[in-house]
């Protein structure tokens, strides 16, 4: 399964890279979303996949007993998902405002810090 997911991750990264290389800012945001998914999946895969029980200690035990899913990458990804959402929300609003201000979604027309003739 890791091998298959390795290719899925590669495909997601490729798509993400391609989208952020576009001139439209909307596509940039979609690309960032794809890259976020790809990164989360990569951390998850590199931490090894297991179909075993989730890392929750039962009420009778004192510690986790193998086999269990690795809790560490899960903690990292949990953080990453939430941060990713924060970034995405900020980027979306920023893009919306930028578009309203300069009236274009083409990056090539957003190169100057000072406003020229509209």
């Amino acid at each position: 399964m890791e091998v298959i997911l390795a290719f899925v991750i590669g495909a997601l990264y490729t798509a993400g890279f391609y989208m952020i290389l576009r001139r439209s800012i909307v596509k940039l945001i979609l690309g960032l979303g794809l890259l976020g998914h790809a990164a989360n999946l990569m951390i998850f895969t590199i931490g090894r996949l297991t179909r075993a029980s989730p890392p929750i200690i039962g009420h009778e035990g004192e510690a986790l007993h193998a086999p269990f899913a690795d809790p560490l990458p899960q903690a990292l990804i949990l953080t990453a998902i939430v941060i990713g959402f924060g970034v995405q929300a900020f980027a979306i609003v920023l893009v919306k405002r930028a578009y309203q201000t300069v009236n274009t979604d083409d990056f090539d027309q957003m190169r100057s810090t000072d406003l020229q003739e509209a």
């Binding site: 990264y13 798509a15 439209s24 794809l34 179909r51 609003v93 578009y99």
Partner: protein, 801 residues
């Protein structure tokens, strides 16, 4: 000792405040500190002369073996006495010279900081602290040379000096690091014992070259000498202090200090003596052709520094003794001549000797001091300069390499030095008076004290058999012993004991000097065509390298920072792929790919994977914004399902809720943005696809390599065992987040808070729009950001009207 070194920095901080109280008397108040320090160091003369160096160690950065250790032996004591003694006179002189300057308190701050840094350089026993103080002298000298910062010439000269000495300092640091690693200690006194091991090492030559570059740049040795004449843009007290007595001698000090460690080899002999000899001749040759008082003095200083280097390179007992005596002599006469030149400039408004003459009547004190200093500079008997010159000839005749050539070069240098001495002392003060821009008058006492003291010291120390001998025994010989790392007693004589070759040479030099002084004007016209060479000299190299650097910087900026986001991204992606790819191939990690094993796969997992890929392609290819958002959502939900399947229910829950939120947000906002239009050409799309593919392939390879090998985590078992016992939590993921890595989570919450604030701010931001936001098609008002950021008031007025 720590107090002695650092008190200058403290007083520097207080100086502006003192100036508010003391006003014109500030110089006299501030001069108390260097004077007190001078007295403090005088107290060391007796014990040090008996061969008892004193050392002080203070811990500074113990984890890096960096100590603040100070070491007082003959060499550092001699320098400390010069720094504090001349420093006292300079602070006084500066208060007079800059009395009518509104920025004079700035001068006091910098000069005191410089003095403290310089003391740090010569007293440090640790290579790191020596380097720090060394660079502090460069920085403070930058401030001092650029004192008249409103003049472009000053700024240029200050930057030039900083770049040359700063670059040299960095090169030297590399040498220091290698030296310390090779010698096994950062303490200079510990390195003395390692001299044989260091000199036998393959790294000896690189170490020597790197450190010598540092010393040569600081001490203005050819081909780095050009910054020193440029630095004459500084006020006269700065030139008198930094550019004759102290900073330029730091390089000489370093060479002397490390002589026991690095010296005595063939490479040392050729490099130090060779560059020194070339510098002394070139400096002396250029000096006598100048007409600006300060430039004559600057080039003759270059020449004197060359003599000192040459002597230290020779490294014999008499050579080192000669170097120490000459060092003191030079500090005295050159310091006083610089101050006199400043006084002349200050009181007459003229610095060119062709337009100066007969000033003795107007400026008797400075005139007399000039004659005394010039006599010492020329090496006339009864002056300490004579003693030094005798020793120099003795050393060159005794040289291990090419004694004849070096002696001839030394004679030429000394003859030209006498010419320069005559030009700066006789020409302005004697002969027919010439009318000057300002009515010439004597300088105030604060500006007389320095020149007179320093100039007459040459006579006092050199004019009596008793003082010459005591000076040699107490000051020069202990310093020379420190350089040679063995006890040494050279007896200095006021006058030669017998009629030897050396005496003959002195006579030849004196007569030659007087002769050339008399014919200098016609001679100057004869040799003038030769000066065309300077058009391709080292100063030009400096300009070319600066220009070249700018060209490269512009080119690089143009290529790397085009202003187009996608080119930044392309560069980032390709650089990452390139570097990671090279590392993977060169380190042979690709072999791990053979260890890949396929594990069991179920049909529903395959279906999920296919859906993810399909949705991704949909995002890429669709022309509809809503479809793209939906595709992105599908990818996210499928990944959440993968989380469920592989034992991560927490992740799945978070992913489901966040993904739902994202999709809603995207739909709400994107609805207001324009539909996709194809901006790029077919070629650009193909190019971007190839670049993206290389990135994707890299990631796939990385994941394959990583998952092919067994994992061995130390953290996971720790969390598994301790979650319940230490943190009382059953859900290990949650325990990690809120307990084991609680600070991370707090940071994460902060980031989210910032993002929320940012979103709120952006939504509320009106960018100076007069009417409320009516939607997307509102036309842009030209220049309204300027209005918003710079002149909000007029914008407000418009609204009111």
């Amino acid at each position: 000792m720590l107090l002695a070194v650092l008190s200058g920095f403290v007083l520097a901080l207080l100086a502006p405040w003192l100036y508010k109280i003391g006003r014109d008397a500030t110089g006299w108040i501030l001069a108390i500190l260097p004077l007190a320090l001078f007295g403090y160091f005088v107290g060391f003369i007796e014990p040090v002369a008996h061969g008892e160096p004193v050392s002080y160690t203070y811990t500074w950065i113990p984890s890096l073996n960096v100590t603040l250790s100070f070491y007082v032996d003959g060499l550092s004591l001699l320098f400390s006495l010069i720094i504090t003694g001349v420093g006292t006179l300079i602070v006084l002189y500066g208060s007079g010279y800059l009395a009518h300057d509104k920025d004079v308190n700035r001068f006091f701050v910098y000069i005191l900081m410089f003095m403290a840094s310089m003391l740090g350089v010569v007293l440090s026993n640790n290579l790191v602290s020596l380097f720090v103080f060394w660079e502090l002298t460069s920085v403070t000298s930058y401030m001092l040379i650029g004192y008249y910062h409103e003049k472009e010439e000053s700024r240029f000269a200050a930057l030039q000096a900083l770049l040359v000495t700063g670059a040299g300092g960095l090169v030297m640091l590399a040498g220091f690091v290698m030296l310390a690693l090779q010698g096994g200690s950062w303490e200079i006194s510990d390195l003395f014992a390692q001299a044989n091991a260091i000199q036998g090492d393959a790294l000896y030559l690189p170490i020597l070259i790197l450190i010598l570059i540092g010393a040569f740049t600081k001490s203005a040795q050819f081909p780095f000498h050009f910054w020193l004449p440029g630095a004459m843009a500084a006020p006269a007290p700065v030139s008198a202090y930094l550019h004759s007595a102290t900073m330029v001698k730091a390089g000489v000090y370093l060479v002397a200090r490390l002589s026991p460690v690095l010296g005595g080899t063939e490479a040392w002999l050729y490099a130090v003596t060779g560059f020194g000899a070339v510098t002394m001749v070139i400096g002396a040759y250029i000096a006598w052709q100048q007409t600006d008082l300060k430039r004559i003095l600057a080039y003759s200083t270059v020449s004197a520094l060359g003599i000192l280097m040459m002597l230290l390179g020779l490294g014999s007992e008499v050579a080192v003794e000669a170097a120490m005596v000459y060092l003191v002599v030079h500090s005295m006469y050159k310091g006083s001549l610089f101050m006199i030149a400043g006084a002349v400039d200050h009181e007459t408004g003229e610095r060119h000797i062709t337009r100066l003459g007969g000033l003795l009547k107007a400026m008797p004190f400075n005139g007399a001091a000039a004659v005394l200093a010039a006599a010492s500079m020329s090496g006339i008997p009864l002056f300490l300069g004579f003693v030094a010159k005798e020793l120099i000839y003795e050393a060159t005749l005794d040289a291990h390499i090419l004694p004849l050539l070096i002696t001839i070069l030394a004679i030429v240098t000394n003859i030209l030095t006498i010419v320069a001495a005559g030009m700066v002392s006789l020409k302005p003060f004697f002969g027919p008076p010439i009318k000057t821009p300002k009515h010439a008058h004597e300088a105030p006492w604060s500006m007389r004290l320095g020149p007179i003291t320093l100039a007459s010291l040459g006579l006092i120390l050199g004019g009596l058999p008793f003082t010459v001998e005591e000076f040699g025994k107490l000051i020069a010989s202990p310093a020379a012993s420190a350089i040679l790392a063995e006890p040494l007693e050279v007896h200095l004589h006021m006058l030669p004991v017998a009629l030897s070759t050396v005496v003959m040479l002195s006579a030849v030099t004196l007569l030659g000097g007087i002769g050339i002084y008399l014919i200098r004007l016609p001679l100057g016209r004869v040799v003038a065509p030769l000066n065309a060479v300077s058009a391709v000299g080292p100063e030009q190299w400096y300009k070319w390298s600066l220009d070249g650097m700018m060209v490269v910087a512009k080119w690089q900026t143009r290529v790397l920072q085009s202003g187009y986001l996608r080119y930044y991204l392309i560069i980032t992606i390709l650089t990452t792929v390139g570097l990671a790819g090279i590392t993977m191939v060169s380190q042979g990690v690709l072999q791990n790919l053979s260890a890949i094993t396929m594990t069991e796969v179920y049909l529903h997992e395959i279906i999920l994977v296919v859906v993810i890929l399909g949705a991704t392609v949909l995002v890429l290819r669709t022309a509809s914004r809503l479809t793209a958002v939906a595709g992105l959502g599908v990818v996210g939900f499928c990944i959440a399902l993968l989380f469920v399947l592989f034992g991560a229910p927490d992740l799945a829950m978070t992913q489901f809720s966040i993904e739902t939120l994202s999709v809603i947000l995207l739909v709400l906002v994107l609805y207001k943005l324009p539909t996709f239009t194809g901006f790029s050409t077919r070629f650009q799309r193909a190019r971007d696809l190839v670049i993206s593919l290389t990135g994707g392939i890299l990631i796939t390879t990385l994941v394959l390599i990583e998952t092919a090998l067994p994992i061995n985590s130390r953290l996971t078992p720790y969390f598994a065992e301790n979650s319940l016992t230490l943190a009382r939590g059953h859900n290990v993921v949650n325990v990690i987040l809120v307990d084991f890595r609680g600070f991370d989570t707090m940071g994460e919450i902060t980031v989210l808070g910032m993002a929320a604030l940012g979103v709120y701010g952006l939504l509320k931001l009106r960018l100076g729009q007069k009417s409320p936001d009516k939607g997307i098609k509102q036309p842009v008002i030209p220049h309204r950001t300027e209005e918003f950021y710079t002149t909000p008031v007029p914008a407000q007025e418009k609204v009111d009207s």
